[in-house]
């Protein structure tokens, strides 16, 4: 078992906090993702063991929720809103400019491993449309414009 000790400890604490291993399953996945950016098969199996639940049971959950990443992602994940309010405010142009700039499409990661772009709606930033949430702290950014993307990306977002 190679699950880092602090992660195992935090998963056990989540069981206490949430009241049962079942209730803590999602939190365990989140803790792993917070630490490592995504949830590998190996980590998922290790977490299942700490929780005392089946691997399939945890996998069942992990594959249902869109913000549990089961493949490696870039250092910065950009969740770009593709909902109607963002579209009405020029979301397509922002999307196209972002793709052109990074050379990737939705669900892909740049070759240098810096960015992953994922589509999501709604990010709850309709007053700042077109909007996205970026990075591990899911910071809301917007209104985005094709011209402003360079500064945003170069400024580390």
């Amino acid at each position: 078992m190679t699950l880092p000790a602090d992660l195992a400890t935090r998963i056990r604490a989540a069981v206490d906090h949430d009241g049962s291993p079942q209730a803590a399953m999602l939190e365990a996945l989140r803790l792993i993702q917070h630490a490592e950016g995504w949830v590998s098969d190996e980590r998922l199996a290790e977490a299942a063991e700490v929780l005392g639940v089946g691997v399939a049971e945890l996998e069942n959950l992990a594959t249902f929720y869109s913000l549990i990443f089961r493949r490696p992602v870039g250092e910065t994940v950009i969740l770009l809103c593709d909902g109607a309010p963002c579209w009405l405010n020029g979301g397509d142009a922002v999307r196209d400019a972002l793709f052109a700039r990074l050379g990737i499409g939705f669900g892909q990661t740049t070759a240098d491993g810096r960015y992953t772009v994922i589509n999501m709606a709604c990010v709850g930033g309709c007053d700042r449309a077109p909007a996205a949430v970026v990075g591990r702290d899911r910071r809301l950014v917007g209104p985005l414009s094709p011209d402003g993307l360079a500064a945003l990306l170069e400024g580390g977002l």
Binding site: N60, A84, L88, N89, G124, D127
Partner: protein, 442 residues
Amino acid sequence: MTGLTPPNGLAPPNGLAPLTGRARPDRVPHTLAEWQALGGYGAVARALRMTPREVVDMVAEAHLNGRGGAGFPAAHKWRFMPEPGTTPGDGPSYLIVNGDEMEPGAFKDRLLLEALPHQVIEGATIAAYGTHASEVIVLIRDAYRGGIAAMQRAIAEAEAAGLLGQNILGSGFSLRMRVHPSAGRYIVGEETALIEALEGKRAVPRKRPPFPAQVGLWGRPTTVNNVETISLVPHILEHGAQWFRALSRTEEGGTKLYGVSGRVNRPQLIEAPMGTTARELIDRCGGVSGNGVLRCFQPGGGASGFLEPGDLDVPLDFGHTARAGSMFGTGTLIVLDQTACPVGVTARHMRFYARESCGWCTPCRDGLPWAARILDALEEGTATRSDLDVLAMTAAEAGPRGRSFCDLMGGAMGPLASLLARFGDLVAAHLDGGCPIRRGML
């Protein structure tokens, strides 16, 4: 930063915006001390001196309708909760504060969680007292990290001050409160799916009855309320039911946190009396953007049917909006000018609903992606006349309540049905080479 309470003709009576009026301009959450200096927790003290029944009666008298989408009277739902000692087995009763908020066009709960966490705690404490709940779970979507952090910090402060935990303010009432982040998917916001999610399962809705008030989280009595509903509760306790009703222009009490987005010059959140009209809200946002001429609007988020310029003076509350042929839902307006296409808007909503469905029922799992593909094909100009028949059939067959397991499918059909009914000619014009508006033909 959007102004929430600028002086203007829209301010509620007495110039009050009870729900958001105390938010700091920078939206940084208050510390407990700051909140108490603003009169915070007075409502909790007051409620705890009353009986739970008196609290619920007061909320009933206030005509508080749930702000999560269906507009169900809050007190009515609370009365389904059993009295302590009348439920077999042991264990807590729960109050779940629903902060999943993913509906396109809705961004109101974000502000309440991020900027006014102590208000949520106050409301949840009072609601828990009224419903005999001993545990509160605040479920917040993972993307709202600011809200999660603010709530966690505020809960810790309230616990340390004896405002949560054992024997709150010496009243004998004890309450545990915690935050549970959700990992994304719109269906998690449906109350029974949310309960499944909290139990560590896939968020698939449960059969009702039994209702959550009888068999909810872990089989225990459970109430689910929206963040905005809960945030309004302290104000009712503080100022009384009559005052709360007088805030509104209609029979449905209180103010509403309206969100306005799409083609307006300054999209923003506006707290205004329940029953405020779209005309006033759009004016407040600096008017229609794009070509400046309104084509239509959705009054209640992605699942609500389109209304047209002739409906600009409908008082926006649950009853009036339904009578106008739409749905008040989350009370979040999406505005389209003449250069915006309702087919494109509906296509994006449909893709959203298709993606976020739990996949349990066939009409929803298969029908939504199908409808989404046809709408995309219409935009691109590759749809055929028979595709229109399929769309019409989908809206007619799958739309009505009860044809699918939960309201996601019916909700998804709301904009589609009204698109076909109100904009049939515009839809048909797409058959001939794609979106005529985009091609500059209209």
